[in-house]
């Protein structure tokens, strides 16, 4: 239902030149990213973050990091499916917003939750697997953010693509972080995992085709 509608929307954009289409889609992405941030700010200033404001901010920034990661992973299947090559131009922006939300998530954990009290932080990360995989996902996203520019792409050549395969590992670790965090109600992790599986399906199909061809 949503996917055919989106496909239609993408194709409708085609009368515009790719430059205009890219600019408009980027504006939408900025809007999508700034809305939750402004909402958190507004709620924070009006005492609207509920009984446990730190948990609220951690949950919100963590969830949005996951959403932007899944959005960035949806670009290449969408491009293949809609035949709109210009879509690739927004992938970096989506990935960088994922990194921005992940940084806010980690900052709220280190600062708001633990007040940069390192003995407790080290104990928490080393003792609790869900914190550990979350920390690993964030650390692994650093080199991706650092190499998300033309100069790095040119310098790394083929290795850039290999390096950016880490996005899949980051997604797996991020989802694991979510699964292990919830106490009993796994509705949300299931939902995001299914979305991730849906995005990986065309990739696995492609890799399988390449493998068959190479045989």
């Amino acid at each position: 239902m949503v996917i055919p509608l989106f496909k239609q929307a993408c194709i409708r954009l085609s009368p515009w030149s790719p430059q205009v289409a890219i600019a408009r889609l980027k504006a939408v992405i900025w809007l999508l990213a700034l809305t939750p941030l402004l909402r958190l700010l507004a709620l924070g200033l009006t005492d609207g973050l509920g009984a446990n404001p730190v948990e609220f901010i951690e949950r919100s920034t963590g969830t949005w990091a996951l959403v932007f990661l899944l959005l960035s992973l949806s670009v290449s299947p969408l491009r293949a499916w809609t035949q709109q090559a210009w879509l690739m131009a927004v992938r970096r922006l989506l990935g960088l917003w994922m990194f921005a939300f992940a940084c806010l998530h980690v900052t709220s954990y280190l600062w708001l939750d633990y007040q940069f009290f390192w003995p407790d932080i080290v104990a928490d990360i080393s003792k609790h697997p869900y914190v550990l995989v979350g920390a690993a996902a964030w650390l692994l996203s650093m080199p991706l953010a650092a190499t998300s520019n033309q100069r790095a792409i040119r310098a790394l050549k083929k290795r850039w693509k290999t390096l950016h395969l880490l996005a899949y590992l980051i997604a797996v670790l991020g989802l694991l972080h979510f699964w292990w965090l919830v106490k009993k109600d796994v509705t949300e992790p299931v939902l995001y995992s299914l979305l991730f599986a849906g995005l990986m399906l065309p990739r696995f199909a492609g890799w399988f085709r390449d493998y068959r061809k190479s045989q």
Binding site: A51, D113, Y114, A123, D124, K127, H128, D185
Partner: protein
């Protein structure tokens, strides 16, 4: 029954099921009166605006926790773990609005002289109601300070007359999928079961709470009657208790069944025994603000007087 919107076929309400309005209103009064009759020192308390729907209780103030800073009524009644009304912290306040905690009886069964039941009105007459300010530490690493109103569980145990075979007490919470949306989902093995060892149950700190902040217990906090064991993690505090069973063997409680590796029978607050997921060495105090940081968690949540109950026990093994 008038407010029951979960019923599939509204026309199936029998006339006999409909509570006359006079009786319905009377029930709220009964709680107030019973409380008033029971308390020796009557203390009037003005109620915050949110509490307008619930009745007020009369009770004696006590010295318990009088030095503590209270968590606000708003936070105490809007941030709840009560899975029968949903797994989100804000769900119970919203979903429990139509729940009717009156009339109510608690069944007493198992190793007792005679199985019987007690109404909430009778329960309130067993001992004078007291206000006790207790710290509550959740296993998830947050804590509150709540002015409970209730009576020692010991008063009910004495009334129940358990036999020599009663080594443990099992608390069974009310379970009604029709009125409890969370109970329709098998997220836990319903009904919710909790338990205490007999000596823990008799400990003077162990409270049957029927109110908080001077008012009748709000639905989302476990109305009409819940268990409060301040030196244990919050999940030990069974809500909306419908059956109390005296047993010889350690009850298999709901969270133990859900994840035996994570939740033990004793569930004593202990900064030395870490949970597989949450830090137990420190806690977040609800309502302290965005930049307040964490406070150190104390053994037995700071209630050192219970230490004798566990003398010689390996608390890492019996967590």
């Amino acid at each position: 029954m008038l407010l029951d919107n979960n019923r599939r076929n509204p026309s199936a309400i029998l006339p006999s099921e409909i509570t006359p309005q006079a009786v319905f209103e009377q029930r709220r009064e009964v709680l107030k009166l019973a409380g008033a009759a029971a308390a020796s020192a009557l203390t009037g308390l003005s109620l915050p605006a949110q509490a307008a729907t619930a009745g007020s209780l009369s009770f004696a103030k006590t010295a318990y926790g009088k030095e503590e800073t209270l968590t606000s009524l708003q936070d105490v009644t809007s941030y709840n773990n009560y899975y029968e009304f949903g797994t989100g912290k804000e769900d119970p306040a919203r979903e429990a609005v139509l729940f009717k905690p009156t009339p109510w009886t608690i069944n007493i069964e198992g190793a007792v002289k005679q199985a019987k039941s007690i109404s909430i009105e009778q329960l309130l007459k067993l001992a004078p109601l007291e206000e006790r300010i207790y710290r509550m530490r959740c296993v998830e690493g947050w804590s509150m300070v709540i002015p409970w109103i209730g009576l020692p569980l010991k008063a009910l145990i004495d009334w129940a007359q358990p036999t020599g075979n009663a080594k443990y007490i099992e608390f069974i919470s009310y379970n009604d999928p029709r009125h409890m949306p969370g109970a329709r989902i098998p997220v836990l093995d319903w009904p919710y079961i909790e338990g205490l060892r007999m000596d823990e149950a008799m400990q003077p700190l162990t409270l049957l709470a029927v109110g908080l902040y001077g008012q009748v217990l709000p639905n989302q906090n476990g109305a009409p009657v819940r268990l409060v064991v301040p030196w244990k993690y919050g999940f030990k505090g069974a809500k909306a208790i419908s059956t109390i069973r005296f047993v010889e063997k350690m009850p298999n409680t709901t969270w133990m069944k859900a994840s035996p590796r994570e939740y033990g029978f004793y569930a004593n607050v202990n900064p030395q025994v870490d949970h597989p997921r949450w830090t137990q060495s420190s806690e977040k105090r609800i309502g302290a603000g965005l930049f307040a940081g964490r406070v150190k968690t104390k053994l037995f949540n700071g209630y050192d007087e219970v230490a004798g109950l566990y003398a010689g026990m390996d608390l890492k093994k019996f967590f």
